[in-house]
Subunit: 265 residues, 2 copies
Amino acid sequence: MESDQPLRRKRTDEIVDAIKRTIVEHGLQPGDRLPQERELIEQFAASKGTIREALKALEVQGLIRTRTGPGGGAFIERMSEQRAMSLLSNFLFAKEISIADIYALRKVLEPLTAVSAMANIEEAGYRRLADIIAIYDHEPADAQERWDQRMAELDFHSVVAEYADNALLAFTCRFLQRLLKEQAVCRDIYRQPRPVLRQRGIAYQRELIAAMRRGDADAVHTIMSDHMAYAEQAMLDLQAELQGDFLHDPVARGQGEVRRRATIG
Amino acid sequence: MESDQPLRRKRTDEIVDAIKRTIVEHGLQPGDRLPQERELIEQFAASKGTIREALKALEVQGLIRTRTGPGGGAFIERMSEQRAMSLLSNFLFAKEISIADIYALRKVLEPLTAVSAMANIEEAGYRRLADIIAIYDHEPADAQERWDQRMAELDFHSVVAEYADNALLAFTCRFLQRLLKEQAVCRDIYRQPRPVLRQRGIAYQRELIAAMRRGDADAVHTIMSDHMAYAEQAMLDLQAELQGDFLHDPVARGQGEVRRRATIG
DNA sequence: AGATATTTGTTCGTATGTATT
DNA sequence: TAATACATACGAACAAATATC
């Protein structure tokens, strides 16, 4: 029988919630300071250890940050995108996300992001994109460079997302890119040589930039859709090749299983 | 001057990372137990308080859960979807997400989810959907029931997402639904009476179920797209009405500002 | 049902590290 | 350099929860 919820909440959790409430009620903004440990100890009639556990919980949630020294204490903090993605990764860690799953979202979201970003990119943004393309504009000399090129290809889309107005959309796209970077299946694929795909991807991205420069939203949407469809197919093909190898190489196959899960945020 | 990264990492964080590594390396699965506090104290040569802070950090990240008593200790845990959404909400808390932002994603993702769910729903699923529609199949008697109906309308889509194969897609859709439930702007809107929208929404959902039953993927996609576009427009219209009110009522306007941010997960 | 043993949860006192003045 | 104010870490003891007998 599954045990039901504990009726008596832990003291630490009560304090965490109480502090969260005061943050909201007082409308505390990043940089504002919470009462110091000593005051919190008095306020909640709790010991130092309990208060510290509560503050640790808030810190992990990206809500505060503590500093030592005079004038130090716990300060309100904006959660970084990186931390948000790490926490979300911990959730999807056990969920067996496939390449097709990721691209199902990318295929519809990246085009929206590109269109949304188009109006805001300006010349400096185009230069940034050109600089990134330059990273994979040539055959890689070694495995390391090949890997860096794959990562840079994803960074291209990350930069585009930076200019999108819709923060929710941009975050989702960037998270999908991160998933591709960290999923073990993808890591294996990215290690494989694939010169044709590289050149084709660049062609798409150059077309995309041209369409953006002339403000052609329809073209931007279409090009990015095609780009994503092509990228997905290429990934799936390479995955099929890899799995074909595994069928004839039990050792590598076993490693593939073990390495499916990469890291915890 | 911005202080650079602390060269000396905190003891607690080192221990957190060390434990995470052992979880990954040993391939620990939900239900497996970590060493007890006493052993961890020995293993890391740290004090009880430090170990407890580290365990608290892991607990907040949804990676473990602790139990008292004989045979108790820290057990590996799968992060619940609810916790993942709470943590993600903390990140988007400060990001000023608009209704249009949310619907930009819903318009393209909900149709995909519905199509993906179609093949798995079966008769029991259709009954669940019918039961939910029954909640808002009539005029609400009071404000409370009106509110419950708005929530149930979102639950309809949540149930559909349950049957989708793509866990990433389903999670995203359900998170968007949660955003609509918790965003203060939306809460104000949902409180407004809107009989026409209610009936129109039901019509879409009934058509959707019919299309799903006959396995017509194209129709499912189209109907859901139209449904979302209609829902967005209705929300935006109601929002415009509300803001019109605010223009003539500085007090309510101020409240709207204050209440924009609802809660912290 | 009640006693007991085991393990986390909490408290207190103290000492150390770190940043500001 | 020294004094100060704050977080960080340690250790021993006690309280509360819970599985087992």
